[in-house]
Symmetry: C2
């Protein structure tokens, strides 16, 4: 087993300039490009295929909780956004407004949805009449628009793709239970088990929580530069929106009550997380479950029977249910092709050339470790599947160990400030408090979440012993 | 086997008022509702689940042709739409224009995509450099906006969901072959085999074809009122867009050439087709492949062991890979529940009550034929799967026989005018011609497509013997 040299790769090293490295990976792995309107994004096939796999993993879990998908309009009457004052406060400067339609000035301007919250809640008010209509569990996959001035592909763009879930329940307890179920069984499960990204789960402080929520639960992860990325949030909304939109039901005794609600979402920014958590100086590294191709079989150089041998390996991998691709291009050099697949993060490469074939062997390259091994051609697909089975676990372990090394236990605001510069601080919440949050904010630090001391979600009674995770966030 | 009475259903009969029947089915089957902004649509969970299944069937076939999904921005600079004059002519009165973003007036107004054609082609110009980059086969699933004044849910709305495919090829022949492959292997295949809708395939006349295309291929179907619905189109674009957008490649000898292109799309209006082709006076009838639930097992009335027996049937159906659902609600009458599932078009119902259980039997109801049979409880899942296997074929045959009965062979414009009032006319194209099309247009009739006399796609040499299909279109 030998390590690969890095001679042929020309990415800016992560340690030199992380944002620039990120930009280069996005471009050179052909994940995305800037769109023609400032702040918009073209998601290229390789990037979109990753999104499709992520979306499928999330969607399956969302449906397993009983929620159903639906679709609400892109256009929202401007008046709807005035319904919830608190809400408008947050969004108004981010809105894109349509003033002309069908060649005329519109009587009432129309807003492009920054979320579908107001529309969905106004339909909930119609659909919910009786306790029999509850729980109502709806999810939407859609594009939303929030005008942004400083954008970064996947992480912050004017238009992005996301899912937003909205639910209504008969009791507070059921709503709370459901919000936590989404956090753990949908978000945490997909991120840890599919994306191989270790996440911290916890509660947002009052300062950081969604304005309309009673409680916001979050998944946070540490990126490769030590900064935090909020991966997904799940909100307990109490009866706040139900009161504003009149979402009422008659209970079993015929009494009229306001529903208890939740909302929750994740977006295409998760692709940004995938890049920043797993990427290395040679490009993207993908966990097999999200890789558009798990394996690429490269014909090093054509020669008697080489293409046929490579095709046979691909066919055998397909039989085993592995997403394998053949690269037999002869008009692009082998070196260039290897570098490209490496940039794109394909977990396993199998290389076969005339000399390999003559000796009945193939070369197996593991992207995440950048190791090459020579294996007998006859057993190559067994080797490949065995290797694939290890990739996600090893990527997860590597990211977890990186995050551990950059997380420090500290006692106070000053300690959190120091530790938060290049990682996370774990600090007693009572040593920070809202006042400490103000001080940290001056240095662009924030409390990412509050947890019980052992990393669990805190029970309602444990308010005293909470640990605050402090970091610099994207 | 007995036929169901229709006493409990209150839909307007199709024969009385087809458009009203349509509206009532959309509402009462909980498929969709009007959105708050005029012309927009809320697709409710039952309607959206049908769309998801249709989308999956199309997507699988699109990918099998080698195309990859990508995502392009919702926003298009207004200037882009001026690039192709012919194009603007067609769309300008349909555009929604964003003039304000982030709280300010924009320097250049931004258009909401009516299609992504201009953006995709401008990126194709960047991505295509060499013959090695071809063919480039890209598909997008997205929402698009075309301002409409007279709208009808699913059939014509300001915002709708669709897929649009765009490809670039090195030769005209390859592009043509690909456009036809999409028509047959993606659209015709999905419509006939998954949606159980018989379609006519053919070429559009010059009058009816897409302005930017050299040749437009179409799938057309007859709805339950005898009118035609254009189900999907696939265009050979020649080098028209390549010249406008500068999509050029250097061929193997290094010479610069314009690419040959195709584009193709289907939309959420296909849900409208599904309603109008298969629906009856009792509501929707769904082919199993598109039904959110293939089977619903109803507990007629609770009683010793009934729920358990119903649950066991559902579990056994799940084991057989059937999407089955349990309806054990005791707070809604059995009659009301039966009518609701009938409205929603669930292909098979299994009804179990205390008396059935005591006698070791269950009642099997086939939605599409409205027949009830009593079957032994022990063999019910075998009966269900056997019944399910027949539904799509029978729906298809029924629709085909309806269309056949309303299609008449005629000789001239006058004959086509008469036959086209409540169905299709098949008339020699040489008896119509562009002049005849003008005459037919005065009566809202149009040539839906041109075919060879035997219904095949016409070969280039067969121009003389073409048959025109004439009808009234949605």
């Amino acid at each position: 087993m030998t390590a690969l040299s890095g001679a042929s790769t020309t990415l800016t090293p992560r340690a030199t300039d992380f944002p620039r490295w990120y930009q280069e990976v996005v471009a050179r792995a052909e994940l995305a490009e800037n769109g023609p309107v400032r702040g918009t994004m073209v998601i290229r096939p390789w990037g979109y295929a990753i999104w499709e796999r992520l979306q499928a993993a999330l969607d399956e879990r969302i449906k397993a909780t009983g929620a159903q998908n639906a679709y609400f309009p892109l256009f929202i009457p401007e008046s709807y956004l005035r319904l919830e004052a608190e809400h408008v406060e947050g969004f108004s400067p981010e809105l894109a407004v349509v003033t002309h339609g069908g060649g005329r000035l519109l009587e009432e301007p129309v807003v492009i949805r920054p979320t579908s919250e107001t529309v969905i809640n106004s339909f909930f008010a119609k659909w919910v009449q009786s306790y029999r209509d509850l729980p109502l569990l709806v999810n939407q996959w859609a594009n939303v628009v929030r005008w942004e001035l400083r954008t970064r592909l996947f992480l912050r763009t004017t238009e992005f793709l996301w899912q937003e879930g909205h639910t209504a329940h008969a009791t507070e307890e059921e709503a709370r239970h459901y919000a936590l179920r989404i956090l753990r069984e949908v978000y945490q499960s997909t991120l840890e088990e599919v994306a191989a990204i270790p996440v911290l789960i916890g509660r947002k402080t009052e300062r950081e929580r969604f304005a309309g929520a009673v409680r916001t639960w979050t998944c946070e992860a540490m990126m490769g530069d030590g900064k935090a990325l909020q991966m997904g949030t799940s909100h307990e909304l109490g009866q706040n929106f139900a009161r504003v939109f009149g979402i009422q039901f008659s209970d079993e005794s015929g009494e009229l009550r306001f529903a208890w609600q939740t909302s929750w979402g994740v977006s295409s920014r998760l692709i940004g997380a995938l890049i920043m958590v797993h990427g290395d100086d040679f490009g993207l590294r993908l966990p097999p479950a999200l890789a558009p191709a798990e394996v690429v079989v490269l014909v090093v150089r054509d020669g008697e029977g080489v293409v046929e041998a490579a095709e046979a390996v691909v066919a055998e991998l397909h039989t085993r249910g592995v997403r394998a691709r053949l690269d037999r291009r002869s008009d692009v050099s082998f070196g260039r092709r290897s570098v490209d697949w490496e940039l794109k993060g394909v977990p396993v490469r199998v290389e076969i050339g005339p000399r390999d074939l003559a000796q009945g062997r193939a070369v197996l390259v593991l992207r995440h470790r950048r190791t090459k091994t020579t294996v007998p051609l006859a057993g190559v697909t067994t080797e490949v599947t065995a290797a694939l089975a290890r990739v996600a676990g090893e990527l997860h372990a590597e990211a977890a160990s990186f995050a551990r090394a950059r997380t420090h236990e500290v006692d106070d605001v000053e300690g959190a400030r120091q530790a938060g510069v290049e990682g996370f601080a774990r600090v007693p919440w009572r040593a920070i408090g809202p006042k400490g949050e103000d001080q940290l904010a001056a240095d662009s630090l924030s409390v990412r979440c509050l947890q019980a001391t052992d990393g669990r979600l805190a029970d309602p009674g444990e308010e005293e012993d909470l640990v605050a995770i402090v970091g610099r966030a994207y």
